[in-house]
């Protein structure tokens, strides 16, 4: 097993409300939903309409670019509503659940069937079974291109972001499915790298420890470092030897469990372990629930925050909404943070004992924490003064302060040379910027524009 140490990044330890390893069960109350616009670069063509009856695993829509590529219903019942956003983007396909949920069935496989499975059949089974969208491709983080052959598939377990679910919990009693899923992935690429993020602080937590043995047996890489060290893009950046590896595929450990379940049991799996946090130590825990659940259903208690902002998928790279929104198909982290309304009196002159900061200009830098967080910019946008905070923290050695300037100057070649496509979209550069420049956003948009141009050429 290789040990990969990543030096740069942000130690995630000072934020209050780290989810405990207690697992609670929360069923969906009335509705579940599928969120097509959270899938990267998919152009959906709806195959259902409002009022249609669906089962778990019924096809909801397909991708216009590749009609073999299906997306399946996370619930059984009636399509209650389909909501659209700007430019008729399909935001939510809402399903009103019925009492006895029925499910579509798919072909089941045994371990020996998998050995004989050829690559194309595996891919078409996964595409028809709604499993393909779990497999992503670097550097654009799009859903993997089935025709391309990656150098390796990276499976990441555990996260340097403590607000993501602990692998010890989603692997509990599921290791058989995990191994099965890995066998399926081995049909897709010659190399499957399994990365185990070694969380120093969780070493003594017993459930995590119990499954470390299994993970240790299977893992090929042990990852150490600060956020976002556990990201596949970061690991790849620090291990790659040639440019051919840039287009590798990756997926999360929990999704591998789902893929294993799909092939072994022949059902469309909808169960999820979600890390939930509202900033308080009592309520922050892991929740056993289902995909597409309404966010409000996840909170069994009164939320003690006056202006709650729900953040799904991690505060650094997820999406945000109200409690009426739904959990995306690939998200496993839900946080509730404060959205402050009041301006701060003499903010710049206060020592800042409660301010979260990566810099040492606030007094909290000397204190151990924990600190509560809020969805506030903590300042206004200003010109870049070249302080270099972003370059100091970037895990893949981009210098965002120069790269974003070259993007604004339309110097695409220059930006690519700086390593634009190595960007793992972790959000740290925007986080630390004292001038409050949306660096991550600029870089990600430039990546997407570049992908669009690549596709036009092809």
């Amino acid at each position: 097993m290789k040990t990969v140490k990543i030096k740069k990044g942000w130690p995630f330890k000072k934020i209050a409300g780290k989810p405990s390893l207690r697992v609670e069960s929360r069923p969906a109350k009335k509705h579940v939903a599928f969120l097509p616009d959270k899938l990267p670069f998919v152009k959906p063509r709806l195959l259902v309409a409002k009022g249609d009856k669906v089962k778990i695993g019924s096809v909801l829509f397909e991708d216009k670019k590749n009609t073999d590529f299906k997306f399946l219903s996370p619930g059984s019942g009636e399509i209650a509503d389909i909501t659209y956003g700007p430019r008729r983007v399909i935001e939510e396909i809402i399903i009103a659940l019925d009492a006895d949920e029925s499910a579509e069935s798919f072909k089941t496989y045994t371990a020996s069937d998998i050995e004989k499975l050829d690559r194309n059949t595996a891919i078409s089974e996964m595409m028809a079974g709604g499993m393909w969208s779990f497999v992503r491709q670097l550097p654009f983080r799009a859903i993997a291109e089935p025709d391309s052959k990656p150098n390796a598939i990276w499976v990441t377990m555990g996260s340097a972001d403590p607000f993501q679910p602990s692998p010890g919990l989603y692997l509990k009693d599921q290791t058989g499915f995990f191994e099965f899923g890995i066998h399926v992935l081995r049909r897709l690429a010659d190399t499957v790298n399994i990365c185990w993020y070694e969380d120093r602080s969780a070493k003594n937590d017993s459930p995590a420890k119990a499954d470390q043995t299994i993970a240790h047996q299977m893992a090929t890489h042990r990852i150490r470092g600060k956020y976002p060290a556990s990201d596949a893009g970061v690991v790849l950046f620090h291990t790659k030897k040639s440019a051919e590896e840039n287009r590798d595929w990756y997926l999360d450990g929990q999704d591998v469990v789902l893929i294993g379940k799909f092939f072994k049991n022949g059902i469309f799996p909808i169960d999820r372990i979600v890390a939930f946090s509202d900033g308080s130590p009592e309520n922050s825990c892991h929740i056993k629930t289902r995909t597409g659940i309404r966010l409000n259903d996840l909170a069994a208690h009164e939320i003690g925050i006056s202006n709650p902002r729900w953040v799904v998928g991690g505060v650094f790279c997820g999406y945000t909404g109200s409690g009426k929104g739904f959990l995306g198909q690939h998200e496993t982290s839900v946080m509730i943070i404060e959205e402050s309304e009041e301006s701060e009196f003499f903010g710049f002159a206060r020592p800042g004992f409660k301010k979260l900061s990566n810099s040492r200009t606030v007094a909290s830098a000397m204190l151990p924490g924990p600190l509560s967080i809020d969805a506030d910019m903590h300042g206004e946008e200003r010109p870049c003064v070249n302080c270099g905070y972003c370059a100091n923290i970037c895990p893949v050695d981009i210098m965002p302060q120069y790269t974003y300037k070259s993007i604004f100057a339309d110097e695409v070649e220059e930006a690519l040379g700086h390593g634009l496509l190595d960007c793992v979209e972790c959000g740290l550069c925007s986080f630390v910027c004292p001038s409050k420049i949306e660096l991550t956003d600029t870089l990600v948009e430039a990546k997407h524009l570049y992908l669009k141009e690549l596709n036009q050429v092809a």
Partner: protein, 399 residues
């Protein structure tokens, strides 16, 4: 008390904000209103794009740390200016007199610098419809601290105007200037009015005395001594005879620029800047190393009587004149310094080296650090360019 003040201010800004809206009568002055409001209140702006949590630091806090680090040299400068002035006047005095006299000399410089500079800042902000940037708070204080206390106030106004307009705004404002605006302002005065700035006349603000009293003080600032003639067998002993011992130079209790005489205060400021991570320790340490190494090498190769400055103990170079102030507060200005790490070492080192070169070999400039920093400012983008090229070369391409 503070709460009431906060409430009154809140009400004031809420009441008047409509005047500065699109339809309001004072809409043109919106940047000024905003600048005033945001000094008191950091507005609550919600995060819209990921990351949804942002760092507690903003540019105001960043710049106010620099202001905080400038406090020791400023207060010492006030004390020292008053002390030198009263000592020159030969009056009996106590601590209170010294501070009062210092304030009377230094505060007008600072006030004029801020007033004249803010006039241009506000004018450019209104024309460009930009918010007023906090960077000027630092420039406006740095500049008067580098001036001799005897400088006429109109020169302060002219100097800071040049620094803000030509040094910064013509390039596009904060973040886009090539040179450090405060040093640009000083360089302008230095070349436009050399009689007041070169340091070979008495730099003591003597108030309300007969001119003869000034004779009581030793002639010039330490670095200007060589230009005054006389024999230079050993500059160190000569400096010491003139009362410029190493300790005195370190503490800064001698006539000179308002805030730049005390290496001790600059050291305190440097510690504040380095510990908070606002200034680059690479530039400061690199600069000190460059200065010490170069002056040490000159010491090895000196043929004594020809050029007395070659022989001076490197520590003298470190504590004398404005080097400490320059390397801590001027060279570390992130906008005009390079942004890449190795370049920062090189940039700092070359500033130290060039300072010594100018001090030793160029008798026209008794102080070299200003020219050294401005010269290296010019090269900072080139250093960045080279280092970025090298870094790109090391990456595995990803296109």
């Amino acid at each position: 008390m503070l709460n009431q003040f906060e409430k009154i201010l809140r009400r004031f800004f809420e009441k008047n904000s409509h005047r500065f809206e699109e339809s309001g009568s004072l809409h043109k002055f919106r940047p000024l209103f905003e600048a005033m409001e945001t000094i008191f209140f950091i507005p609550a702006i919600k995060t819209r794009r990921p990351p949804f949590v942002r760092d507690g630091i903003d540019l105001k806090r960043f710049m106010s740390i620099v202001l905080l680090a400038l406090m020791p040299p400023m207060f010492f400068g006030i004390y020292n200016t008053g002390y030198q002035s009263l000592a020159a006047a030969g009056q009996a005095f106590n601590f209170f007199d010294v501070i009062l006299s210092g304030l009377l000399t230094v505060m007008p410089l600072i006030i004029v610098s801020y007033a004249a500079g803010f006039f241009w800042e506000i004018l450019f902000s209104i024309v460009r419809k930009h918010p007023i940037s906090e960077g000027f708070l630092v420039t406006g204080l740095l500049f008067p601290l580098t001036l001799p206390p005897t400088v006429p106030l109109w020169q302060v106004a002219v100097g800071i105007s040049f620094g803000v307009v030509i040094g910064k705004e013509v390039f596009g404002g904060t973040g886009r200037n090539i040179f450090n605006p405060a040093l640009t302002a000083r360089a302008f005065l230095f070349f436009a009015y050399p009689a007041k700035m070169s340091g070979d006349t008495v730099w003591v603000a003597v108030s309300n005395t007969a001119s003869s009293a000034a004779n009581a003080v030793t002639g010039a600032t330490p670095l200007a001594m060589t230009t005054l003639g006389g024999s230079f067998d050993n500059l160190e002993s000569m400096l010491q005879n003139a009362g410029y011992t190493l300790t005195r130079l370190f503490v800064g209790n001698y006539p000179g620029s308002v805030g730049a005489t005390s290496a001790l205060c600059c050291l305190i400021g440097a510690l504040i800047l380095i510990i908070t991570g606002v200034a680059s320790y690479r530039i400061i340490i690199g600069g000190v190393a460059g200065l010490l190494v170069t002056s040490f090498l000159f010491g090895l190769f000196s043929s004594s009587p020809l050029n007395p400055w070659m022989d001076v103990n490197p520590i003298y170079h470190l504590v004398a004149g404005g080097f400490a102030f320059g390397i801590v507060y001027m060279a570390t200005d992130p906008v005009s310094a390079p942004g890449t790490t190795t370049s920062k070492w090189v940039y700092g080192f070359l500033i130290g080296m060039l300072t010594i070169l100018i001090r030793v070999f160029n008798p026209a400039f008794p102080e070299g650090v200003m020219m050294a920093i401005l010269f290296l400012n010019l090269f900072a983008p080139l250093f960045d360019f080279i280092e970025i090229r090298l870094r790109i070369g090391k990456r595995i391409p990803n296109v």
